[in-house]
Symmetry: C3
Subunit: 317 residues, 3 copies
């Protein structure tokens, strides 16, 4: 069944069309208007590892469109612990829902599930693999701020080695002709095979260890969480992490329309002082997960988003 | 954003008006009539500690009114364990819902959340702090039985030291001119600062260690759970707890319209023999959580409850 | 309150009528048509032990019919751990919902709950007791394949000693004149009192340890999971379990319309090679849980299923 497993499942034209639909759906996502496009549909949430933001924004997206949701719930209390295979679990949810959002710790699990079932699968993250709905909401947020996706200067910062979000996003950005700067400590730099792949794709990329000196030219700074567990000891972690933290005072020379993004949860990468600045866009970005996932579910279910959403919807009192 | 953090957020007139709305909504809460006043709205359930009754009655309240609910779920599986601050978690739910019900172990957390977000917060209990939706359903239950809130004789019994429910309720009762009797063992007596506060408010209060001798004059006996964990040893607990248990045979001299309430869950404070008596009102009280929360959500969302609910609603087959 | 606690609560005529309703509801269960027969109704899911398939299919059944669901959730996080009795928990849910689906580890718990509450209880499994909604979906699946329930040759295989599913189903099958063969290792054979009971009922039963030699005559082979924990050691388990596994190559002489069923989750009882054969019916059987539970809820709530479901429903775009 068609689904969204990696960003390669979408052409640039499809990406733009889905983002256009998402934009029109904003009043629905904000709860200002009611438009039950997915009434009668059921989303099966199949999170083999927890992901608060992704799961909840999928739920809100479905419910804002009049559909409903069933949750597998905590895997530790599910049939999975009785030894059920992923194949069998998928067969079950396949019969109970019209579309599935799935997160799984194993790379490739989403494709495996898509091959095994009849309803569309939305990959909500498969281990070190892909997380295309995150990439779509990232692209939506960038376009919302800059009015376009083309020819922007985007700095991806922090843990680029293990960060699946950064991998997927950088691939997508070069498809739209963005210049991508990878700012990370050496030990957490973007894997060379991913860089090679991007360059082969014609991408314009650069690497640096110095995040701060990139701020004044950037259109987007995309921060990611550096996880303590990656480091042999606390000292090593602190040395590295300190250089990849943003504070409001670091932003004095930033371009006025620059935005700071983060897939969240953040820990210390972005100081709360940044929240008050005009650059902070990470909470809006989290919200954009709702509208982007609304649009993606409509697309996968073949439900057209009306050209004039206001006319097609009812006001919520 | 306005919300309901403590009972001080409501004037007496507002309390009465919300209880009036709740009363009219009873046929909806009973599932006899369908009135989707909150269609298209989403409640975010943010329970940082579990509370079965509070969470489920909020869910039923929202769903009876045609709205929907998203749950943060088990905090141990949420982004909170990755180190996310309360502020950031609130920002997320703020974007995914139209109103939030929150329980948190820390006193003051609900006010903090209300300051941090754009949608109304309903405080579902913040540690030793407040639990105003419980107080509202308690008031509803008392008024339902006695036809008024004024000038009743209400005995609060059991653990008055740690019981946030008893604190909030006693404040509210004196606002309506009730006489409040605190019946507890010395070690679990109402904190002196709360009594002082109530007296300053003009409240008519009394303290006693003898619950049984209060029964025959009471209009309401409000029992609370005495927790074993509060005591240094089992003996100490048993000695105290035994004096704060009600049995049907204790009620022979009660006034005929007297009611026995309990926030539930009960353990041994109320013997099952009481359940069969005319006095037992705790299960009705738990049910009343639905209709009171329906009314509170309408009020916070600015949705008017029709004067004639029957005329405005459809029968459920 | 009437409910469904054991299959004895239903006459044969009622069983057939409920299966007829279920059959007509198939387009709704498949999500092809929208028919909100249970709009405004709330199902309370009260699972005192987890059961992914049963819980999720109840949820889908309710939501496909336009109703909604509240979940008690993980019992370890509920008021039950505070010492609340089953009676009190039931009183709570009774006030929050219109119908309850309950699973409990203790035999008899469902009947106890039904006696304690005002809304109908659907027994979703009570320990070693009954699981009638499973039996109903099993009967639906058999009738769907064979066009009738009467006079079939049904082999129940695997763990017949502890398997509540096999007990309930065998009782039901003999009510329709089926011949029932119990194929199990000696140590897991059908309890003699159950066999005696079935024979007293006029049932035609046989016992064997040789599953394979039963295949060629069977109309239905109903496999169940043999749990390792039942055996003193791994060797003992393997010896027994190996004789109760089906592989595609075992099915060469099967009747063409024979079906293989399993309540799921399976572990190794059915080799994946069987999935591709015409005989495999266990995934369809799991799906049938939705449509059967839709029909049962309508029946218990007194909601008629239209004779012409297509005419009464709307297409889902």
């Amino acid at each position: 069944m068609p689904g969204l497993i990696t960003m390669d499942d979408l052409t640039n034209e499809e990406i733009i069309s889905i983002l256009d639909d998402a934009e029109r759906l904003l009043p629905i996502a904000y709860g200002e208007r009611y438009l039950p496009l997915l009434r009668g549909r059921i989303l099966g949430n199949l999170f083999f590892e927890p992901s608060t933001r992704t799961r909840m924004s999928f739920e809100t997206a479905m419910k804002r469109l009049g559909g409903d949701v069933i949750n597998l719930g905590d895997v530790k209390n599910s049939s999975v612990v009785k030894g059920e295979t992923l194949y069998d679990t998928i067969q079950m949810i396949d019969g109970y829902s019209d579309i599935i959002a799935m997160r799984h710790p194993r790379q490739g699990a989403a494709q495996y599930a898509a091959d095994a079932c009849k309803v569309p699968i939305l990959n909500g993250g498969d281990g070190a693999g892909h997380h295309p709905t995150q990439t779509m909401l990232d692209l939506f947020t960038i376009r919302q701020a800059h009015g376009k996706l083309e020819n922007l200067r985007v700095v991806l910062a922090g843990d680029l080695r293990y960060g699946r979000t950064a991998h997927s996003l950088s691939h997508a950005l070069v498809r739209f002709g963005c210049k991508v700067i990878f700012a990370s400590p050496k030990s957490l730099s973007m894997p060379t095979e991913i860089i090679a792949d991007i360059v082969r794709q014609g991408g314009d990329v650069e690497e640096t260890e110095d995040l701060l000196s990139e701020i004044n030219q950037a259109d987007v700074i995309y921060m990611t969480r550096i996880q303590k567990e990656r480091f042999p000891d606390e000292d090593e972690y602190l040395k590295v992490a300190d250089a990849y933290k943003l504070h409001a005072r670091d932003l004095d020379d930033a371009k006025s329309e620059m935005i700071i993004m983060h897939p969240l949860p953040r820990v210390e990468e972005i100081h709360p002082s940044v929240d008050e600045t005009r650059y902070a866009r990470y909470f809006q970005q989290a919200f954009n997960g709702v509208v982007t996932r609304m649009s993606l579910m409509c697309w996968l279910l073949g439900v057209g988003v009306p050209g004039d959403v206001i006319a097609a919807s009812e006001v919520i009192a």
